[in-house]
């Protein structure tokens, strides 16, 4: 059996230097990454009841994108006068979707990669992996409020 070669002074110092670099650089790297990471994100959309707009600000078959609690929320008034609220962000890669209220079958479209959602926000075509996030709408007199489901 060959004799095990003893650690030389050179290899010992090399290992020591590599260990030192590792011990110093890893915490420094973690510190830098912590520094660059944004603070915890808020929830997607208004969690509390938030005033959106007045009832008469939307005509039937139209939509409006509002920034509520720092998130884009799309309010839609159907031809029957029903109000619905969705996250305006496409669930594929986050582009703002467009409401096609004048189409034979009203739906949402994303112009970025061609995703389509039906009038209830359910993904029906393209690469979007899930439906649009939905919000609850409450009407109090002429005031329309939106809150998270």
């Amino acid at each position: 059996m060959p004799a095990q070669s003893p650690m030389t002074r050179r290899s010992f110092l090399g290992t020591l230097a590599a260990t030192w670099v590792g011990l110093v650089s890893l915490p420094v790297l973690k510190g830098i990454l912590d520094y660059l990471s944004p603070a915890a994100a808020s929830t997607a959309g208004p969690s509390a009841k938030t005033f959106a707009l007045r009832w008469d600000q939307l005509v039937p078959n139209s939509s409006k994108v509002l920034k509520l609690d720092n998130k884009p929320v799309m309010l839609v008034k159907t031809s029957g006068g029903q109000l619905k609220a969705f996250s305006a962000r496409c669930t594929h890669l986050g582009c703002i979707v467009q409401y096609k209220g004048d189409a034979p079958a009203p739906h949402f479209e994303c112009n970025c990669h061609g995703s389509r959602f039906d009038a209830n926000g359910v993904n029906i075509a393209g690469p979007a992996p899930r439906p649009l996030d939905r919000f609850k709408v409450e009407v109090d007199g002429n005031d329309v409020f939106v809150l998270k489901v």
């Binding site: 994100a41 808020s42 594929h92 890669l93 467009q98 112009n111 061609g114 393209g126 992996p129 899930r130």
Partner: protein, 361 residues
């Protein structure tokens, strides 16, 4: 008045003073001794230098643009408008910066594919290839981070999509997106981050890698393709090849100037984060293969998220591309093996096809 002899004496003293401190004579001697193979594919050797020339144009025009640009969402678009409309020659400097970026990416890809097809990555030039692929990634990073800076509609949505792509990667994806965006949405933090990466981190890294790439290229010399070993004559790098380089750069500058003047780079409407993405929006040509792939891949394949598959595919493809010198066993034995060439041609075909599809569908 000083006589001509005393003048030359002063020059002589100066020259020797400099020569003692800067080894310019030795460097010049090295370049004179250095030879470049002369054969029917020598013209492709010019592309690396040409890419470097466009990088230099980017540095000069980019530094000039920073004097007037303001990296925050309320002022960014207006500051670019001011550069274009008010600052003397501002429109031309911005136009050259944008066009030169496109030319640089085009010549970089031509350079990379020519190196690939001429098999110039084989031993002992593996590290030259690897530093080249790193430079390709850095240049695409420059293009991506610089794109948001004008803060117009197209820039906004391109960045929105681009920063969301890695999110599908478990754990690391959301972390990377957070670092890139600096928050949940594209906003002031994102713009500042893109600006810092574009003007500080990427240039410093690129200069370091370019230094390694050029040093190793000069050290190993230009590679002769496997089939042409018997053919080459040689020309001296200095001055003969450098003269060809200079002529190429001059022609490139004329074309760049001509295009930047006749087709000034546009500026879209100021980005509105609440507006829906405009119909027909698509990124610049060099990101179209990724864009079209994202369009083509369904949301789920065999229960696996489509975006995750795209991310894994890109990472796997990059891994293979880095490893080309080690995978091409035939080339390492100085044979012109077909397998790797076919792989490269397939890749080029895919890139071209997706670009055409993205522009026509």
């Amino acid at each position: 008045m000083m006589s001509s002899s005393s003048k030359s004496e002063v020059r002589g003293v100066k020259t020797s003073w400099l020569a003692e401190r800067i080894p310019s004579t030795e460097v010049l001697e090295f370049l004179r001794r250095k030879q470049v193979p002369l054969h029917r594919h020598t013209v492709w050797y010019l592309l690396g230098g040409l890419t470097g020339f466009f990088f230099l144009v980017q540095v000069v025009t980019g530094v000039l643009l920073t004097f007037y640009y303001s990296p925050n969402p309320s002022e960014a678009h207006e500051s670019v408008r001011t550069i274009v409309n008010t600052v003397p020659h501002g429109w031309l400097i911005r136009s050259i910066h944008s066009w030169s970026a496109n030319f640089m990416i085009a010549t970089l890809f031509l350079h990379m594919f020519s190196v690939f097809l001429l098999k110039a990555y084989r031993k002992p030039r593996e590290v030259v290839w690897i530093t080249g692929v790193i430079l390709m990634l850095l240049v695409l990073g420059f293009a991506f981070t610089g794109y948001l800076l004008p803060w117009d509609t197209r820039a906004y949505f391109a960045t929105l999509i681009g920063t969301e792509v890695p999110r599908a990667i478990p754990v690391l994806g959301s972390f990377a997106v957070g670092i890139l965006k600096g928050g949940e949405d594209i906003g002031a933090a994102t713009l500042m981050r893109m600006y810092t990466i574009h003007t500080t981190i990427l240039p410093l890294t690129a200069i370091l890698i370019i230094g390694c790439h050029v040093f190793l290229t000069l050290f190993h010399g230009s590679s002769v393709p496997p089939g042409l070993k018997g053919e080459p004559g040689h020309i001296r790098f200095f001055p003969a090849f450098l003269y060809r380089d200079l002529m190429t750069w001059t022609a490139a500058l004329v074309v760049l100037w001509w295009v930047a003047t006749l087709v000034p780079w546009g500026l879209g409407e100021k980005a509105d984060p609440l507006a829906s993405a405009p119909l027909g929006i698509h990124p610049e040509w060099y990101f179209l293969p990724l864009y079209q792939t994202l369009r083509l891949v369904p949301s789920s394949i065999l229960g696996i998220n489509g975006e995750l598959i795209v991310n894994l595919g890109v990472m796997f493809g990059m891994g293979v591309w880095f490893a080309v010198p080690f995978l091409d066993r035939a080339a390492s034995q100085e044979r012109s093996g077909r397998a790797m060439t076919v792989l490269g041609l397939l890749l080029m075909g895919y890139l071209a096809l997706t670009i055409v599809l993205a522009l026509t569908t």
